[in-house]
Symmetry: C2
């Protein structure tokens, strides 16, 4: 039981900051103190930005992305190719792929993976809306960019099944050696996949 | 130049979160997404807590601590011994000492260390108010809990000088082996100090 060292408002700020991913109880205290010291430059603007995000952020009704507009900035961008759809588990995966800036296409966010034990079936994910989007006819290729985990792969198989009757090509991300990766540190599964999918030099 | 992947409100939230100590550009993105997903449980309460801190936090006019009350919770606590004053550089040091819960006393926050090259002289620190507090007569011991850095020690010498005419005992933190520390990893200065200040077993 430690003594109270500051008013309840500060204690509460520390408690809430500690729940932010990347901060723990100790760094939350340091962060709170930094914010308090930089009241005008940081605490004020951050509180305002959070309030605004709270007001405006919504889930895109087309793809499941989060943004301050609906349809989101990606779905409403006319320069993106509507013929290709990248299916991801989570918005964070969408952001990661966008950072890679590899393709100028649209997305569909599932909102998770199939996990019967956790009560997550097809109805808990945005699968119906994916099938509807593809059925509309404009999409020619669906890239399944799900994680290379058991749940991700199970979900990928289920999606392939659901899309099988439609006139669309279903592809998945390549397995292989990460760029900059050292063979010595890679697992056997990845090495075997990289060998099998070897390409001409 | 990366493409915009979300509305300006979300981009701004990420930019500001990246300035919080403990978060970088990458973890700020993850934190923003987590906050947006937990709108009601985390983003809302955190925005409110920040707004409240912004409104209420002030610097204690007695000791220089930050709190939502002035005098702060420590200065206004009648159970704390007013005869001993711990002088620290920063509020974070005050919090660290309070976590150690070693002494039930009051504090004085300097707000930094003497650093002529950076334009920080005695007038930029809360030194005048320290001398005034001690001159009032109630304080019998001043513990200089400044960092064991060159600047900290310079400041300690200056303070000792300023307090020398007053009826008060000036002490400093002991140097020695950190609890749980291994001798092999300690620098020579610390080991020499620990030997010099050896105590009976």
């Amino acid at each position: 039981m430690s003594k109270r060292i500051a008013g309840p408002e500060i204690e509460r700020l520390i408690q809430l900051l500690a729940k932010v991913p990347g901060l723990g109880p100790r760094s939350a205290r340091r962060a709170a103190l930094h914010l308090i010291k930089k009241k005008d430059q940081l605490l004020g603007p951050l509180a305002a930005a959070m309030g605004e995000a709270l007001d405006k952020v919504r889930v895109c009704s087309t793809c499941g992305n989060v943004d301050t507009a609906d349809p989101c900035i990606i779905c409403s961008d006319p320069r993106r190719d509507p013929a290709t759809l990248i299916v991801v588990e989570d918005v964070s995966d969408l952001w990661a792929l966008e950072r890679a800036s590899a393709m100028n296409v649209r997305y569909h966010v599932l909102g998770g993976t199939l996990s019967p034990l956790d009560g997550i079936g097809p109805d808990q994910l945005n699968i119906r809306s994916l099938v509807d989007r593809v059925s509309a006819g404009e999409v020619k290729e669906v890239i399944l960019a799900v994680n290379a985990t058991v749940e991700g792969q199970t979900t990928a198989h289920y999606l392939t099944d659901q899309l099988s009757g439609l006139d669309v090509k279903v592809t998945r991300l390549a397995h292989g050696v990460p760029v900059g990766g050292e063979l010595d540190y890679l697992d056997e599964g990845t090495l075997a996949a990289a060998l099998k999918s070897r390409t001409a030099f």
